[in-house]
Structures are given as structure tokens and as C-alpha cells.
């Protein structure tokens, strides 16, 4: 699955995007976030405050409990500050 990061989350992870093969038991946005945290120090640092993390599935806002099934792209980012 394509995983993309933005703003300080991208800086902390160290790459703007990557392909990650999630284990079969990873079925929701929240599961994906927890799996990423297990991948290394940079991920643990990036996701250290889950309440500040927002997510999108195929470019639509998604809640932590949203299922990953069928989605091709998952994005993680901090609260938005446009406008």
C-alpha cells in the first residue's frame, strides 16, 4: 500500500512516501498507524502523539476505525493549517 506523509510528520519519518506491505491483521487506519510505530525510532517519534495525527484513505478524510480494505493510498498528516 502506498503510504504518504506531510509536514512535520514527513520530516520526522524521513521520506515523503513509501510502499508498505501491511500484515493481514492490519485492517484499520488505527492498525496501520500502530504497525508503522513498530517499524523504527523515526516512526515512533513521528507518531508519538496519536491525537495530533490525521489520516486520509484515497484522498478522503478517514477516522481511526475506518477499514483499509480496497484503499490504494493512505496518508498521515498533522492538523491542517491552510487558509
Amino acid at each position: 500500500m502506498k503510504v504518504v506523509y506531510f509536514a512535520w510528520l514527513r520530516e520526522r519519518v524521513g521520506v515523503p512516501e513509501e510502499d508498505i506491505a501491511f500484515p493481514v491483521e492490519v485492517s484499520t487506519v488505527s492498525d496501520a498507524l500502530n504497525h508503522l510505530i513498530s517499524l523504527g525510532e523515526n516512526y515512533a517519534y513521528a507518531f508519538e502523539r496519536p491525537s495530533l495525527i490525521r489520516a486520509a484513505l484515497d484522498r478522503k478524510h478517514a477516522k481511526p476505525e475506518a477499514p483499509l480494505a480496497g484503499a490504494r493510498e493512505i496518508a498521515f498528516f498533522p492538523p491542517m493549517t491552510g487558509g
Binding site: 506531510f6 491542517m80 487558509g83
Partner: protein
């Protein structure tokens, strides 16, 4: 009824007066246009520029979803939103929202609604660049932006 919704996400500056002129040209049903322009501040001389990062594709799609929602709530005649990304100098426009309708109430409400949702739903992130090339911090989201969405429930 579907109305013209024009959403642009671009690096280039925009001309707010020209955009408003274009919106009403050839339209004789529009009685009111409300224009909101958000500008880059220098924060009392502290900032050299803002840099805006965005999620290409989702930025346009999300603003379009917000505009469609506004068009369902009020009798609007057209909506135009331009949001810039990249480096923006103090004094330059960051975002432009134009809402037109037959009467003013819908245009005011539509522009207000689109800006409120855009601030906390459109995928843009601001980074500050300080005077003298100091490394900038990411701007934190304000609780009041999220809270202001409650006005529309």
C-alpha cells in the same frame, strides 16, 4: 441544482479584483458577491515568508466537496476558490473565496462556511520562515478553528 464551482490550487499569485470581475461578467442574475482574501502577515517583522505544503489532488477535491456542501445549504449562484502553495511573501494573498448569490445573506454565509471548513479540512500546512534565514517552525492548528465548525452543525 448544480452551480459553477471553480477550485484552483496553484503556486502563482492571484489577482482578487480580476477574479471577482470574471465571476460576474456576463451574469445578470447575480446580486451579491462576497469576497474573502487571506493574506500572509509578517508577524510584527518576525517573518520573512510562509511556505505552504499541500496534498496534491486531495486539496482540490476536499475544497470542491466543501463548496458542494455550501451550495446545498444556501441558494448560491457560483463559488470560486483559489488556494496557493509554496513560498508566499508577507502582503501576498494565500487564499481567495468568492461566493455569489441573488441576495447578500447567502453570499455572506457561503463564503464564511467555505473558509471555516477549508481551514480545518483542506490539506494544507504552513511553515514559518524567519527573518535572516532562521529555520522555521510548522504553524500549530488553533482549537478555535476546529470549534468554529460547530457553528454549522
Amino acid at each position: 441544482m448544480s452551480i459553477p464551482i471553480d477550485v484552483r490550487v496553484q503556486a502563482e499569485p492571484f489577482d482578487e479584483a480580476a477574479e471577482q470581475k470574471a465571476l460576474v461578467t456576463g451574469r445578470f442574475d447575480i446580486g451579491a458577491v462576497v469576497a474573502f482574501t487571506g493574506y500572509c502577515r509578517d508577524e510584527g517583522g518576525r517573518l520573512e515568508a510562509l511556505e505552504l505544503e499541500h496534498y496534491p489532488g486531495m486539496a482540490e477535491e476536499e475544497i470542491t466537496r466543501i463548496c458542494r456542501e455550501a451550495a446545498e445549504r444556501w441558494p448560491l449562484l457560483s463559488l470560486r476558490v483559489i488556494h496557493r502553495f509554496g513560498k508566499i511573501d508577507p502582503g501576498e494573498g494565500i487564499v481567495l473565496v468568492l461566493a455569489s448569490s441573488a441576495h447578500r445573506a447567502a453570499a455572506f454565509a457561503g463564503a464564511d462556511f467555505v473558509m471555516d471548513f477549508l481551514k480545518s479540512r483542506a490539506p494544507f500546512w504552513k511553515k514559518e520562515h524567519g527573518r535572516g534565514g532562521t529555520a522555521g517552525d510548522w504553524v500549530s492548528a488553533k482549537d478555535e478553528d476546529e470549534n468554529s465548525l460547530a457553528r454549522w452543525v
